[in-house]
Amino acid sequence: MVLLAPLRASARVGVSRTRLPPPPLSAARYFASSVIARQSAPVKQRLHSDSVLFPGAVNSKFTNELKFQRPQDLPAIPTYRLIDTHGEVVDKSREPDVSQELALKMYKDMVTTSIMDLLMYESQRQGRISFYMVSAGEEGIAVGSAAALSPDDVIFSQYREQGVMMYRGFTLDEFMNQLFANKFDYGKGRNMPVHYMSEKLHIHPISSPLATQIPHSVGAAYALRLDQSSRIVVCFFGEGAASEGDFHAALNIAATRSCPVVFICRNNGFAISTPTLEQYKGDGIASRGVGYGIDTVRVDGNDIMAVREVTMRAREMALKEQKPVLVEAMSYRVSHHSTSDDSFAYRAKVEVEDWKHRDNPITRMRKWLECKSWWSGDQDQELRTQVRKDILKAFARAEKEKKPALENLFLDMYKIPGRDLEEQMAELRRIIEEYPDEYDLEAFDRGKEGL
C-alpha cells in the first residue's frame, strides 16, 4: 500500500497509480495481482543520476565496488544505561529524574515480585498449584517499563511480566486468586497459572502460544490509531518468541500501518534451554527492528532507571509520531524457564550464581538507593519480612476460597450460550436436585444456587 510513499519530492517524478482494466470475472484466481495492481507510470530518470528509484529501495545509491554487507563488520547496537553495576550514576549530569517516593515504589514492587515468585515456585513444588513461572533477573524490565507508561495504556504481555502487573496495582489477592483458580479468578479457572489478566488495568489475557500477542498488540494499536487516542499499546515478549513468524509479521505490519505500539523484548539469554547464540546469528533483536524500518533502542534491563527513561521516550515517539518503536532490554534469566524446566541440565549452576552476584536489577537499584541515602539495610529487612507475610496471607485466603460457580461450566464459549448448552444446564440442575446426596457442592460458589 505504501510502497511508493517514501519518494522524495526533489526527485520530481510523477507517479500515478494506473488502473488496469478489470480481469474477467470468471472463477479465475489472479495469482500475480499484487505486481499488476501497483504498477506505476514510467519513472523519469535524471541524466547521470547516482541512483534509480527502484520502488523497493528508493534511497539506494549506485556503487562500482562489489561488496557484500557482512554483519560482523557493523558495530553492535550499543546498550543504554544510566546506573552502573555498583549503583553509581555513570554520567553525573544525568541523574535519573525520579522522586524518592516513585523510586521506592519501583523498588518495593521489584522486591515483592521476586519474593512472590520464590514462594509460588515453592508452592508448585509442594503440589499446591500445577505450574509457575518466575521472573527472577527480569523484574527491572517489567517494573521499569510499567513505571514509564500512562495507566490506561494497553498492555499485551507474555508470561514473565508479573512486575508490570504489580506496578499497575494488581493486588496480591488478585495474583493468588488466579493461581488457585478460585471464584474471584477473572479467568474462572480456565487458564494455566500465571496467565493473568485485568480489565481494570488494561492488561489483556496472557496467551500461551508464543508470540501470538505481538500481532494482537498491533491490531489493538491500530484500533487506537483509528480512534485518535492518546493511549498507546505496549507489547512484551522474549527473544525466543522473536524467532516465531508472528514476531516478524507483526513488526512488518506495525511499520507499514504506522501503529502506535512499543515492543519491549526481554532478552534474557535463553529460549527455554536454547541459548541466544543458537537462537539467532545477528545482533540481537534490536537489529531486526532496524531492518523493518522501526526506531529501535537497546537498553540495560538490569538498570531499572534506564529502562524507565527509554520506555518513556519510546512511548512519546509512538504516540506523537504514531508509529511503532522497539526496545530490546538485556538481562539474564536467573530462574528456570518454568516449573517444568530444570535449567541446570543445560547451564552450569555456577554461571547462574555468578550472574546473581555480578548483577541483578534489584541489588543494583538498592545500591543506588543507598548511595542516595533513600534506603537502608534495616528498611530492606523490614520490607522483605512484611512482604513475605502479606503474600502468605493472600495465599492462605485464596487457597481457602470457593471454586467458581457451577454455571460457569456452560458459559462464555460463545457470547450467548446456545440452546444445547441451556438444555445441558437444565439437565444438570435436574440431576442434582433429584440426587442431592450424590453431589457435594460445598466447594463451589453459591453451591446448588450457582447453577
Binding site: M1, P22, P23, L25, S26, A27, A28, R29, Y30, F31, A32, S33, S34, I36, A37, R38, F156, D185, Y186, G187, K188, R190, N191, H195, M197, E199, H204, P205, S207, S208, P209, T212, P215, H216, S217, V218, G219, A220, A221, Y222, A223, L224, L226, G245, D246, H248, A249, A250, N252, I253, T256, R257, N408, L411, D412, M413, Y414, K415, G418, D420
Partner: protein, 373 residues
C-alpha cells in the same frame, strides 16, 4: 504467501485453465433454473454470489464504523476475486486495508483489533493460505472469550473462498469445513446461494463471536435470484439454522455450499427417473449444526445421505452420520450414507480432478442404491 501465487502469472493461469469445462458447474446452473420458478414475486433480482458478498460488506461498513476489512489485495486491487470491489474508493484506506503478505500477521492484527473492540473482517485470498494463520484463528480468536472468563469478546469475521476450484491442484483445493467446524468457540457458515452469502456474511459480521465464512470460489460468478427482502440492508440469515431447499418425502439429502446446487439437480433427476421425492437440506451453518432440521426430515423420509466435497475422513458428512446414530437411529430404514470427495490430494489434471469430487450422477446413483430402486 506461497510462491505459486507469484510464479503463475494471471495469463498463464487462464491459459492453463481454459480447457477446463467443469461438468458439475453446468448441473449447478440447471438446478438454479429449477429454483427460480419458486420466485414469483416482483422485485426479485438476480445477484451473483460475488455481488451479494460485496453488498453485504458495503452495508456493514456503512452501518458500523467499527467494521474494517483487511487482507491481501483487498483495497487497491479490489480483492483477488473482486469481492471487495469499490470498497476502498467508498470507505477509504483506513477501513479497507491492503496487508503485507503475511497471513498470521494480518489475522493476528485482526484478532488484536477485535480484542480492542473493533469488528474486523479478515479476508484470506483462499482458505488454503489461512493454514499459516490457523493458530491465530483457533488459539487466539476462538478461545480468548472463554479463557478470559467472558470479559474479552472477539468479534471478528474470517472470510474467503474455500473448497476446490478448477485446475489449481492440491494446495489450492481443500475444504476446511471440518477443520473449523470442530473448534469450540468458533461459528462456521457455508453459504450456497446469493441470499445465503449476503445474509450469512452480514450475520457473521454482527455476531459478537469469531465467525469463519467459508465461501466457494466456483459460486462467485453464479447468479441467484435475490428476493426484495434480501436486497434490503437489514437482511440477515440466522447462523445455526439450516434451510430446506426442496421438500421431499422419500430421502433426505443433507449438504452444504456448492454441493447444494448439485444435490438439487440430482433430486430433479431422481424424480424424473424414479418418481422419488428427495428432500434437500442446505446446512448453511456447519457450527452450530442444525441437527433438529435434519432429524425432523429423517423422521419423515427414513433415509439419510450426507453430501460434501471435503475429504471423507473425519468430515462434515461423518459428523452428520454420527449424529444420525445419536438422534435418528430409530427412524432410519437403512444405514445412512455419505458421499464425499476422494481421499487424495486434489490432482490438477482435469480427468483426475473430476473423479475427485462428487457430481450429480454419483448422487443419483448412490440414492437409487440406498432406496433399492
Amino acid at each position: 504467501m506461497f510462491a505459486a501465487r507469484n510464479f503463475l502469472s494471471r495469463a498463464t493461469a487462464n491459459t492453463l485453465r481454459k480447457p477446463v469445462v467443469n461438468v458439475p458447474r453446468v448441473t449447478a446452473f440447471q438446478s438454479l433454473k429449477i429454483q427460480q420458478k419458486n420466485y414469483s414475486s416482483s422485485g426479485t433480482k438476480d445477484y451473483t454470489v460475488r455481488e451479494a458478498l460485496n453488498e453485504a460488506l458495503a452495508e456493514e461498513l456503512e452501518r458500523d464504523e467499527k467494521v474494517f476489512i483487511m487482507g491481501e489485495e483487498v483495497a487497491q486491487y479490489n480483492g483477488a476475486y473482486k469481492v471487495t470491489k469499490g470498497l476502498l474508493d467508498r470507505f477509504g484506506e483506513k477501513r479497507v486495508i491492503d496487508s503485507p503478505i503475511t497471513e498470521h500477521g494480518f489475522a493476528g492484527l485482526g484478532v488484536g483489533a477485535a480484542l480492542a473492540g473493533l469488528n474486523p473482517v479478515v479476508e484470506f485470498m483462499t482458505w488454503n493460505f489461512a493454514m499459516q494463520a490457523i493458530d491465530q484463528i483457533i488459539n487466539s480468536g476462538a478461545k480468548t472469550h472463554y479463557m478470559s472468563g467472558g470479559i474479552q469478546p472477539c468479534s471478528i469475521t474470517f472470510r474467503g473462498p474455500n473448497g476446490f476450484a478448477s485446475g489449481v491442484a492440491a494446495q489450492h483445493s481443500q475444504d476446511y469445513s471440518a477443520w473449523y467446524g470442530s473448534i469450540p468457540g468458533l461459528k462456521v457458515v457455508t453459504p450456497w446461494s446469493a441470499e445465503d452469502a449476503k445474509g450469512l456474511l452480514k450475520a457473521a459480521i454482527r455476531d459478537p463471536n469469531p465467525v469463519v465464512v467459508l465461501e466457494n470460489e466456483l459460486l462467485y460468478g453464479q447468479a441467484f435470484p435475490m428476493s426484495e427482502e434480501a436486497q434490503g440492508s437489514d437482511f440477515l440469515v440466522p447462523i445455526g439454522k439450516a434451510k430446506i431447499e426442496r421438500v421431499g418425502k422419500d430421502v433426505t439429502l443433507v449438504t452444504l455450499s456448492r454441493c447444494v446446487g448439485q444435490a438439487l439437480a440430482a433430486a430433479e433427476t431422481l424424480k424424473k427417473k424414479y418418481g422419488v421425492e428427495a428432500e434437500v437440506i442446505n446446512l448453511r451453518s456447519v457450527k452450530p449444526l442444525d441437527v433438529e432440521t435434519i432429524t425432523k426430515s429423517v423422521k419423515k423420509t427414513n433415509h439419510l445421505i450426507a453430501i460434501e466435497s471435503g475429504f471423507p475422513s473425519f468430515g462434515v458428512a461423518s459428523e452428520i452420520l454420527a449424529l444420525s446414530m445419536e438422534y435418528m437411529f430409530d427412524f432410519l430404514d437403512s444405514p445412512a450414507q455419505r458421499i464425499t470427495g476422494a481421499e487424495v490430494p486434489t490432482p490438477y489434471a482435469i480427468g483426475l480432478e473430476r473423479l475427485s469430487f462428487p457430481d450429480e450422477d454419483l448422487m443419483v446413483k448412490k440414492t437409487a442404491q440406498l432406496l433399492r430402486l
